[in-house]
Structure formats: structure tokens, C-alpha cells
């Protein structure tokens, strides 16, 4: 039975029906009796003192219940928004972590910084009244770019961070310490060739299609708080509400993340708005709801990337990589978001070896405060930035050495017999077949016929270019002890409960959260495969701390590798208990019982009992070994991984550039990925497509822009160019498989790959197209304007 919808089958998703019929239940779809509405008063200034908040006029507006400020919040003992990862500078001092209040108390540090909240009977009343709140701002000098913020005389944003430097970090993993710097410098001194690039990794806005929303309901009689919120990890939100901000006991707080319309990292964090509605509901004794407008998403959702990097690659006379030096300035925004300091450091530097046997690597990163929205994890989170630096440098080396970029990569690949491979930057790569992926991508691209396609493009008056990228990333966060040593302030295991009902149907309670990934289907496939029951008899429950024991949620492509393995381990326990029950029923030794295709069988005989009968016996224990076993059949497993998992893959992209307009058209995009084993190929392909679209968006379209002072210029879909259907090609995707040995499913994770590998592939292709015109460098996004300017600059320069 399981074979129809077991592991490896492209099962159509069970969750689809509610979405395609309009019956999804997102936070904004939920309304409670007597609920009131919150609207936030936000700073219009990038940097200002808050001298006072005058709510007198607002309080006279119709329907207004309250106007609450940072001072009120402070008076109620509400704690600041927590930083979840501590980073240590190279001089041993901790990164500066300023206290980030949910509502500003004395100073605002970015446009959109919440200052006060209006609570009213209707959303429009709250909004109208917010316009009447008079905040007395004392404007201060401000700065938006991280490199400008580091200059002498730049405006100072936090007193505790002289020069706006949050941290000055170097990466010295055990394998390299303490001589990483000296050894790498030596490699450069002895190099036959050195390639050097200055790169900007453009700032992005995540833009899940569902704007964030929170609805808090504090019950004054029971002291119970229920929060419905757009979260990727409701248990984490509860933990932070209870330990850091509201400081309520956990058994009095239930956090529900129902259907969530995309996350991509932006819905990981415990945000000011979510905290504020919880606090306001507790204070006012009514349910309080807030739903962001898209404009607020642009101002208030954690933004991403925004690195300026110098990358240098040293090669010997045989074109083998001997050293890599990376120096990055990362823009952290006006305050630290939860993982803000971790993304450009411990999620970035450990991936800078790429798929190559580069022996010496030295990485330094400066984290800088600016007057912009805080940055944090967004699809890929540090790995796209690492991949972009490495893969741009490798392509530049191929150009300078006049080598085929595929051959240069092949020459430097880590070989299949070297796994597990200890990289010099501290990762133990699990498995991979880089040549196999490269060959697959080349075949799908018809690599050897490129010159003919280029000729045909020329006939049409277009410049054709081809670009390649080979990415590797770390998924399955994380081994808790390793993460703890790197500064994580939480464990990163996952939890699953398998509840077998008396009649043999199964409910899975998972701490992972699906906001589009399809766990209700793929997790059910694992259960169907393992227990031999019908896929339709499995229900997967996620997103409710009231139902699920615990969990760390979904981010970093961790759901299957960590959450799926927790499920696998819980099934192991169910299977084992079932074996004992079956042994009793069959009057045999447990060791003699085999479990296959939903049946416990005495090995070598036809004596068998079905899984359903065993479940029934567990709940109706008339004939049951009650002296040895408890009745019931429900098991929970916590799984803490031994290592990360390391998906890898080769992307090849072809573009046509119109030299008159600078327009770049994607003609072909090939992705050959190694995700280890795959549960549902159709779902995996969908994840790759979506990642590619975001990566291509970064490379060609998307750009979060501020004025030098910190006014957001790209604050709506009129200004921020989201990828639309007519911007993208069909994708050719395929997989190879080297299962990871670090989890029993052999799975690695697929959610972020596309967003990691696509940007360098696209830019390498654009540069390949423009090379005949003398263009050597372009930053993302390669918009028509940027391409045209690069062409003109090359023309006038040459």
C-alpha cells in the first residue's frame, strides 16, 4: 500500500486542496470576538532622538482605546528583543549587542523603527489615529552604507560601538588555527597567479507574499496568552516571549503559526510588532490584531545580504588553488536582528572553501551598524554570499588563465574518495560527486555546442554569454554542541511525535513548520513507507505549541534532515514497541519478528499480525504483556544531528544581452543538484524552481536601495523589482544522489540551493557575454541600466 505514495514518489500534495479552494487559514483570516486593531507609529527619520510622544489628539479620535509607547513598555518590565547568537571579535571582546526595545524609548535608528502603537476598534480608526500621534524627534546625522559608516567622522549610531563597529571577526577554525593568516599570506607570496575582485552583494527584501500578521489574545481570567502569528518556528517565538520579552511562564503561552504564506527566513524572528500586540492584549484585556501592509514589510521585515567583499584567489603554476583571502564588510542595520551577527560570520566563512581543495583560507568580517532596517537570514543566509565570492573569483581566474571555467573547476574539485572531507574552514563535508554533477549539467546544457548558439545569437544582434557556478552549502542546522561553541544561544535539534490511533491511522506532531514546503505530504510519505500504511491514513500536524511537544521550526533547509529524522527515530520506537506487542500476540520471541510492509511476521513462517491489529491490541490490552509494556502506541523522538549536511550542485546559465539597451534575457538555465536521497521529486523540483527565481531575482532585478542618509527608496512593488512570470525561463532541473551518512534517511536539504547557486551563474554569464566589449566587472543586480553603463564605461575607457 505504501508503495503508491511512499518514499521517492511524486505524490501530489495533500495540503493543496484547502489552498486551491480558498480555504487556507492564514493569520489575517482569523478573527476573534471583541478584537481590536493595532497600528504602529514608525519613525520617518533614519536616526533621531525621541524626545516625547504626544498622544492627546490621537486619543480623541473615534474608536481609539489606547496609545502605548516605549516608556509604557519599559514600565511594564518588557525586555528587549533578544539576539540569539553571540559573536566574538578577534581581540576576544564580545560583539556589541545594544538593547533593542520593541517600541523605541529614547532613539530611533532606521526609517520604520516602531515608536508607538495605537489600538482602536477598527483598523482604519487605528490607522487614522496613528497619523495624529505627535512624536517630538530630534533629528541626528545618519548613514546607510556600511563602508561609509566605517569612515572616520561618520555619524555614531550606538554609543557602545565606536566607529559603528559591532564586531571585527576572523575565522580561525581548529583545522587552521592559529596560523591561518600566516599560512594564507605565504600561499599568496608563493602563488604563480593571483586573482582579486571587489564585490558588492546587493541588499534584498525577502517579500514572502503574505505580509506578517499577529493576533494576540490574553485571557484575563486564566492568565493564558494565545498568539496567532506568521512564524516559521512557533516554539522559538514562545521561548523568546517567555524568557526574554514578556517573561511569562511557558505553560501560559500558546503560539500558533497556522497556514503561513511563505517565509524565506523573514518569519523566523520574534519581531517588535508580535511582542507589542501580545503586551497590548495583556495590558488592555482584549484581543489585539496587527496585519502589515506591504509598505511595512519593506520597512520592518529583516532584510538581507548587503556585503562588500574583497576576495583574492591564489593559484600555482598548474592552476591549482593554493590560497583564498576574503575580507567582508557586512551591513547589520540599526540594531541586531536575532541571527544578524551570525549570518555574515559563522553561516558564511565556513562555506568559503566551496567544492575545492584550497588548503589555506583566511577570512575577516566587519559587522557594521548603519541607519537601515536590521539584516538577517534570507533564503541561503550567508551561503549565497560565500558562494558568490568564491564562484566569481574562480571564473575570473579562468578568464585570466584563458582556461575553460569547467576545466578549472574540475582540476580543483574535492574527489569522491576524499569524503568525509575536512575543509580548512571547519566543515566536515559528508558526501558529493562534483564531477558527476558537472558532467550532468554540461550534458543538459549541450555544453559543447555553445559556440553555435552564440553564433545564432550574433545573427540576431545579441551577445550571448554562458556562466557556471558550483555551489556547496551547509544544511540541517545543527549539531547543538557545535552550534553552541560558535555562539548559538539555543539548541538546534528537532522533535517529532508519532501517535498511532487504536484503528491504526497515524497522527504526526512535528516541530518543523511548513509555510509552503509540503511537509503534510512528504512527512506522511515517510510514515507510509516505514509503517506500510496508506498515505491517506497519516495526518501531519505542525505550527501549534499547544499540540506539539517542542520544536525549533523550519529554516536553513533543516526540516527533512533534522525534523524528518526525528520522525524517522520516533517511527523506530513505534516499530520496536509494536514488535514486542506482536511477539506476544504471535507467541514468539521479539528477536524473531520481522516487520515489513505493514506486517509483523515470525521470520520464515506464515504467522503474522498486521500493524493495525498491533495498534488495536495496544489500546485494547486484553491480550497484552502489561507486566512489561505500557498500553498505548505513541512515541516521541528528539534528534540532534551529528553534523550538517552538504548539498551541492552545478548550475549553468545562458543569457542574451542587447548591447543597445543593456537588457539581459535568460535563455537557458540548467540545475544539476545533489540533495542526497529524495522523498518527493516533484516537491524537490518545486523548491529548486523557487530558489532559482529568487537567485535570478537577486542577480538581475531586486535591489533594496537607500539614500546615503537612510531613507528607503525601494519601499513598494513599484520600486522593488520582484521576479514576475515573464522575467523567468523554464528551468531544466535534474539530480544526482550521494546520500549523506549523517542521517538515516540519507537526505541533505533542498530549499535554499537555487538562491545560493543562481546569482554567480547569472553574473558569470552576463560577464561572459560582455567580455568582447571589454567589460570586466559588474555588480548585482545587472539591470539594463547597470549593463548599459558598464558597456559605455568600457567603451570610453578603451
Amino acid at each position: 500500500m505504501s508503495g503508491e505514495m511512499g518514499i521517492g514518489v511524486s505524490a501530489p500534495r495533500t495540503e493543496d486542496r484547502r489552498f486551491i479552494t480558498g480555504r487556507g487559514r492564514y493569520v489575517d483570516d482569523i478573527n476573534l470576538r471583541s478584537q481590536q486593531y493595532a497600528w504602529f507609529v514608525r519613525s520617518p527619520h533614519p536616526h533621531a532622538e525621541v524626545r516625547g510622544v504626544d498622544a492627546a489628539d490621537a486619543l480623541k479620535m473615534p474608536g481609539v482605546t489606547a496609545v502605548l509607547t516605549g516608556a509604557d513598555m519599559q514600565a511594564d518590565g518588557v525586555g528587549p528583543l533578544p539576539v540569539a547568537w553571540g559573536i566574538t571579535s578577534r581581540d576576544g571582546s564580545p560583539a556589541h549587542e545594544p538593547e533593542f526595545p520593541g517600541l523605541a524609548t529614547d532613539r530611533v535608528r532606521y526609517v520604520g523603527n516602531p515608536v508607538a502603537v495605537v489600538v482602536a476598534e477598527s483598523r482604519s480608526q487605528a490607522r487614522d489615529a496613528a497619523e495624529m500621534v505627535n512624536v517630538d524627534y530630534g533629528e541626528l546625522e545618519s548613514v546607510a552604507s556600511a563602508t561609509a559608516a566605517l569612515e572616520e567622522g561618520a555619524p555614531q549610531i550606538h554609543e557602545g560601538a565606536p566607529g559603528n563597529l559591532c564586531f571585527d571577526w576572523e575565522w580561525l577554525p581548529a583545522a587552521m588555527a592559529p596560523d591561518a593568516r600566516a599560512n594564507t599570506d605565504k600561499a599568496f607570496k608563493e602563488a604563480a597567479h593571483v586573482v582579486s575582485l571587489e564585490l558588492v552583494n546587493n541588499r534584498l527584501v525577502p517579500n514572502a507574499m503574505e505580509p506578517r500578521a499577529s493576533l494576540a489574545d490574553f485571557n484575563t481570567a486564566t492568565g493564558q496568552l494565545t498568539l496567532y502569528t506568521t512564524s516559521q518556528n512557533p516554539h522559538v517565538n514562545r521561548l523568546l516571549l517567555c524568557t526574554a520579552t514578556l517573561k511569562m511562564p511557558e505553560h501560559k503561552v500558546r503560539v500558533v503559526a497556522p497556514d503561513v504564506g511563505g517565509g524565506f527566513g523573514s518569519k523566523i524572528y520574534h519581531y517588535a510588532e508580535e511582542l507589542t500586540v501580545c503586551w497590548a492584549s495583556r495590558r488592555l484585556g482584549v484581543p489585539v490584531k496587527w496585519t502589515a501592509e506591504r509598505s511595512e514589510s519593506f520597512l520592518g521585515d529583516a532584510q538581507a545580504r548587503d556585503h562588500v567583499t574583497r576576495v583574492e584567489l591564489a593559484l600555482d603554476a598548474e592552476a591549482r588553488f593554493t590560497g583564498l583571502r576574503v575580507d567582508t564588510v557586512a551591513n547589520l542595520g540599526g540594531w541586531l536582528s536575532a541571527f544578524g551577527p551570525a549570518i555574515p560570520t559563522v553561516f558564511y566563512a565556513p562555506l568559503l572553501a566551496g567544492v575545492y581543495r584550497t588548503p589555506n583560507i583566511y577570512v575577516t568580517v566587519k559587522g557594521v551598524f548603519t541607519n537601515t532596517t536590521p539584516t538577517d537570514a534570507y533564503r541561503g543566509a550567508g551561503r549565497p554570499e560565500a558562494c558568490y565570492a568564491v564562484e566569481r573569483a574562480v571564473d575570473e581566474a579562468a578568464v585570466q588563465l584563458n582556461m575553460d571555467p569547467a576545466e578549472l573547476r574540475r582540476l580543483n574539485f574535492i574527489q569522491p574518495d576524499e569524503f568525509p572531507y575536512q575543509s580548512p574552514v571547519g566543515q566536515l563535508y559528508d558526501s558529493g560527486d562534483f564531477e558527476g554533477c558537472l558532467d550532468l549539467a554540461r550534458k543538459l546544457n549541450a555544453y559543447d555546442e555553445f559556440s553555435e548558439r552564440r553564433r545564432q545569437s550574433e545573427v540576431r544582434g545579441k551577445l550571448r554569454g554562458r556562466g557556471m557556478c558550483f555551489y556547496i552549502e551547509a544544511c540541517g542546522a545543527a549539531p547543538s554542541q557545535a552550534a553552541g561553541q560558535l555562539g548559538a544561544r539555543a539548541g538546534l535539534y528537532e522533535v517529532a511525535t508519532v501517535r498511532v490511533h487504536p484503528t491504526g491511522s497515524v497522527q504526526v506532531l512535528t516541530g518543523s513548520h511548513s509555510h509552503g514546503q509540503g511537509h503534510e505530504t512528504t512527512f506522511a510519505q515517510i510514515v507510509a513507507e516505514r509503517l506500510g500504511i496508506d498515505f491517506g491514513n497519516v495526518e501531519v500536524v505542525h505550527g501549534d505549541t499547544g499540540e506539539i511537544p517542542f520544536g525549533m521550526g523550519t529554516f536553513g533547509s533543516r526540516s527533512l534532515a533534522v525534523g524528518g529524522t526525528a520522525l524517522y527515530k520516533a517511527i523506530d520506537k513505534v516499530e520496536e514497541k509494536g514488535r514486542k506487542i506482536a511477539a506476544h500476540l504471535l507467541e514468539a520471541e521479539a528477536d524473531d519478528i520481522e516487520f515489513t510492509e505493514g506486517e509483523y511476521r515470525v521470520a520464515g513462517t506464515d504467522r503474522a499480525v498486521s500493524f493495525g491489529d498491533v495498534a488495536l491490541a495496544a489500546y485494547v490490552p486484553h491480550n497484552y504483556p502489561l507486566q512489561e509494556l505500557e498500553p498505548g502506541l505513541e512515541e516521541t523522538a528528539f534528534f540532534d544531528p551529528e553534523n550538517f549536511t552538504f548539498p551541492s550542485g552545478c548550475y549553468i546559465c545562458e543569457v542574451e544581452v542587447d548591447r543597445q539597451t543593456g537588457q539581459v534575457d535568460l535563455r537557458d538555465f540548467v540545475a544539476a543538484d545533489d540533495f542526497g536521497n529524495i522523498i518527493n521529486p516533484m516537491v524537490v523540483e518545486g523548491q529548486v524552481h523557487g530558489g532559482l527565481a529568487q537567485g535570478i531575482g537577486q542577480a538581475l532585478l531586486e535591489h533594496c536601495l537607500y539614500t546615503p542618509e537612510g531613507q528607503l527608496l525601494s519601499g513598494s512593488y513599484m520600486d522593488y523589482c520582484m521576479p514576475r512570470a515573464d522575467d523567468l525561463p523554464n528551468f531544466v532541473v535534474a539530480t544526482r544522489c550521494t546520500p549523506t551518512p549523517f542521517n538515516p534517511l540519507g537526505v541533505k536539504g533542498c530549499g535554499e540551493a537555487g538562491a545560493i547557486g543562481a546569482p554567480p551563474a547569472v553574473i558569470n554569464a552576463v560577464l561572459d557575454a560582455l567580455r568582447p566589449l571589454g567589460v570586466r566587472q559588474i555588480d548585482m543586480p545587472a539591470t539594463p541600466q547597470a549593463v548599459w553603463q558598464a558597456i559605455e564605461a568600457a567603451r570610453s575607457g578603451g
Binding site: R13, D16, G22, G24, G516, G690, Y717, P723, L728
Partner: protein, 159 residues
Amino acid sequence: MDAKVSFTLNGRSVDAEATGATLLVDLLRNHFGLTGAHVGCDTSQCGACVVHVDGVSVKSCTMLAAQAEGRTVETIEGLASNGELHPVQQAFHEHHALQCGFCTPGMIMSALDLLRRNPRPSEVEVRDWLEGNMCRCTGYHNIVKAVRAAAVAMDEEAS
């Protein structure tokens, strides 16, 4: 300030009180509880709120409730009949044309309008038409596939 607005909603005559500033999407979501139409932006760009008015796709965030007076409004909730999915819905399911589902109702309603105008659209025509419907999850690949498959299915159903 409130005024009565009467129209046909998913085949039934309805009426409601609405202020002059009430948007059709808010009336559908808040008064009628039809939460399939979503609000994903504030500049009429994303298309998550698309419904049909007199058989034509409309961004319901850009139309006043009062403008529905006397007209026929169809939403995603009215598309399946007797529990049977419409071919466009079925195709989205079979071809994995949705992930988080937030853009999906608007995407389906928009695609259906295209297929009524152009029963066999090319890939380029589908991509051009859906330019006003954003999806952040799928990269559009499977959406385009589903719309073209739905075209074939609707053709077969009609013949």
C-alpha cells in the same frame, strides 16, 4: 455613511452595508468571510486578491465595494462545483503549481480569465498574462505548466 450594496456573489443574491471607502476585498473577507482573496500589497501589483466581476478578472483591492452594485462577483470559493475541482484547480494540484498557497486563489482566477479569452495560450502568452500576479515560491515554472495543462483539460471538457 454606510450604504447598502446588492450583488450576486458566487451565484447567490447578497447584500451588505459598506462605507464609501470599503474595498471589495475587505467586504468579501470581513463581511462574507470569503478569505480566499488575499491582500499581498498596497499598490495593486501582486494579484493575490483577484476575483471575477461580470466574468472578468479584477484586483479586488482596487475596486470599491459600492462598485459591485448589481454586478456578478465570483471568488475562488465558488469555483469548484459539488465538491469537484475546476480543471484549473485540478491542474494546479497535479502540477505542483503552488507552495505556500497565498498567491494561489488570485493566480487561479487570473489564469481562468486568460483561458476564457485564449483557450490555447502559448508559454509566452501565459507568462505575459500572469505578469500581474506575483508568486515568491514556485518560480512560475509549474504555474505556467499547470495553466497550459488546464487549457487542454478545459478543451476536452467542452468537446
